[in-house]
Structure formats: structure tokens, C-alpha cells
Amino acid sequence: MNNDINEPGVTDGHESGIPPDVYRALSAQPRRRVVAYLLETQEATVEELAEVLCGWNLSDTSPMATAKDHETMQLRLVHLHLPLLEDVGLLAYDHDNGDVQMQALDSPLKQVIRESITRETEAE
């Protein structure tokens, strides 16, 4: 499954005044999932975030993720998703040790992210 394609998952947020660059950063499913996870944990390593995205993709027809899936996910995080989220100030990413920290978000934005996750789960 290619979850990197931009998709209209946060339409409410766009209408409620979220800056366009943040809106764009959250337009891909894996990045919304990363932020939703960090809202729970506040911090994580890249490796852990790759585990979360692999686990989130599991389904009845694909109940197991392998080491290769994890490696691919980690590469996408490092080269694509984390830099984009860092650029718009949603998280801080230490490129040396791989630590990722959530930045303070205002409540409406948190709400938009949580709602988008709920909608996604309900749609499955």
C-alpha cells in the first residue's frame, strides 16, 4: 500500500485555519499517524515510529510485517516524512541519534489530527 500519496484526510483542519504548510505536511496518512502516535508518547525513536507504522498497516489479509517492511518504513521516515514534519515545526528530529520529539501543538490542531485518525479507522 502506498500511503505517501496526498489525500484529503484533514479537510476540517483546512477550514479551521491551519497554516497551509502544516496542512500539506499532514496530508499523507503515514505523517498523520506519526503525529497521532507522538500525541500519546511525546517522544519516540525513528525505529519505534517505523514499528508503529508497520503495525498500523497490518490487516486480516496482511497480518505480519517483516524486517524488510520495517527497513523500508524507516528509510521513508528518515528521508521523507520526518523532515517534512520537522520543517513545519510539528516535531523535533535529532538526525544523529534518531530521537523524535513532539512540539507543542494548539488544541484545534490536535483535535483535527485525532478526528482524522478516527475517520480513517471508521472507513476501514
Binding site: E51, V52, G55, W56, L58, P63, M64, A67, D69, H70
Partner: protein
């Protein structure tokens, strides 16, 4: 290879299981706890994905599996090796980890449960070699009815090891190795190798420590053979 070396080899690298969950999954904790596997837990967002478990061997990611799938894999009776061959390579990787998982701080009751499982399997297969270390033969006394039945109902070649603090009765099909028993006094050990298919094997070796037992329960024929060879050498 000594029993200590077998335990040591299986101990390294350490396997880490992490449960990602939205709410408490106490049932899974119980299942993995029974196996002596320690479990880290991490929270998932409300309305996030279904719970899943990731497994690492040392620092290396081995796999992620949904809790529902893991439950069905761990449900007793544990699937015999023949059935496992039908699984995909991903599942094989998971099984390889589970098969070689080291169980630390095992309780006596847990070792008893695993021992019963191996005895039952030997009984069902009916042919092959079963080696059992009882630490002391007086411990074997309480299980003698089971072994009498095993010896009479099957063609198993049964070897019992233990320090001779009780004189067991002669039973055709059962050989007592009391002198070798002293070498294994600190260990809880069983090995069963099927007479029908030698790749069908089960073994348990655990050493008594201050906080319980530490050891490995495996159906990896290579490891079971090492256990059996060590016991045979005495």
C-alpha cells in the same frame, strides 16, 4: 555442548516483545507471561489501529504481528513443527524467535506445564527417545504412574536421570541413569525425539537460580539433539 552452553547460546541475543495497544491487554500478558516472555507496552492513539506486537532479537527487528494472529499461534496445543512449514517466511521468522525464546525467572508450575506437554507429545507419537532429568529420583516417584503408562502403552525408549535418593522399580522400557543424574542436579531437563520423524523434537532445559529457573523450551531439532547428546554422554 554442556547444558549451560545450550542455555547461554539461546539467551543471546535477548528477544524483546513490545505490545502496542489502545487499552490494557491483560489476556496477552497472561499468555506471554505463561511462557516467561517479558513484554514492554506502548500506547496507541484512541481509535488507532488494532493492537499488535513487535519482536526484536537484540537490536534487530524480526517482525510485527497482530495480537489476534499471535493469539491463534500461541493457543495450545502448540502447533507441531510439520504444520509450521506451511507458513510464510515472515511467520517462520517469528516462529524461529518463539522457538528459541529464552524464558527467565520461570516458576516451577510453568516448567511442570511444559514438561507435561512434552510427555503428552511423546505419548501421542508413541515411538522415539524420551530423556528426562528429575534432579532427584524422589521427584520422579510422584510421576511414576505416568511413566509406567508411557512405557507400557508405547515403544518409547525412556531414560530417567536423577540423583538416587529413592530406589525406583524396574520397568521394561525405562532406564535409570543415577550416576549421570548428579551432573544434572541443578537442571530441569527433557528431550524428546520422535522415532517417526527425527525432525520432530521437543526439548526443555532450565537451570535453577535464586529467583526461579532460566532456560529454553524449543522444538528446534538441532538444539534438542544437543540436549539429548549431552544427556546421553552423561
Amino acid at each position: 555442548m554442556s547444558l549451560d552452553a545450550i542455555i547461554r547460546e539461546a539467551t543471546d541475543p535477548v528477544k524483546t516483545f513490545t505490545l502496542y495497544r489502545r487499552e490494557q491487554q491483560s489476556d496477552l500478558e497472561t499468555v506471554l507471561g505463561t511462557l516467561g516472555v517479558s513484554l514492554r507496552q506502548r500506547p496507541l492513539p484512541p481509535n488507532g489501529p488494532e493492537p499488535f506486537v513487535t519482536i526484536k532479537s537484540g537490536d534487530t527487528f524480526v517482525g510485527a504481528i497482530s495480537v489476534a494472529s499471535l493469539h491463534s499461534l500461541l493457543e495450545p496445543p502448540i502447533k507441531p513443527p510439520g504444520e509450521k512449514k506451511d507458513f510464510s517466511p515472515g511467520y517462520r521468522a517469528l516462529f524461529d524467535v518463539l522457538d528459541r525464546t529464552v524464558y527467565t525467572a520461570l516458576k516451577r508450575s510453568q516448567l511442570l506445564a511444559v514438561s507435561r506437554e512434552i510427555e503428552d507429545r511423546a505419548h501421542r507419537v508413541g515411538t522415539g527417545t524420551l530423556r528426562v532429568g528429575f534432579q532427584r529420583l524422589s521427584a520422579y516417584a510422584s510421576r511414576i504412574h505416568v511413566y509406567r503408562e508411557l512405557a507400557s502403552a508405547t515403544t518409547l525408549d525412556i531414560h530417567i536421570y536423577g540423583v538416587e535418593d529413592w530406589e525406583p522399580p524396574e520397568i521394561p522400557g525405562i532406564t535409570y541413569q543415577s550416576s549421570a543424574g548428579e551432573a544434572y542436579e541443578e537442571y530441569w531437563v527433557l528431550s524428546f525425539i520422535s522415532g517417526k520423524d527425527p525432525s520432530e523434537a521437543n526439548g526443555l532445559v532450565a537451570r535453577e537460580e535464586t529467583d526461579g529457573y532460566r532456560g529454553v523450551w524449543t522444538d528446534d531439532p538441532a538444539v534438542v539433539n544437543e540436549i539429548a547428546k549431552e544427556l546421553e554422554r552423561g
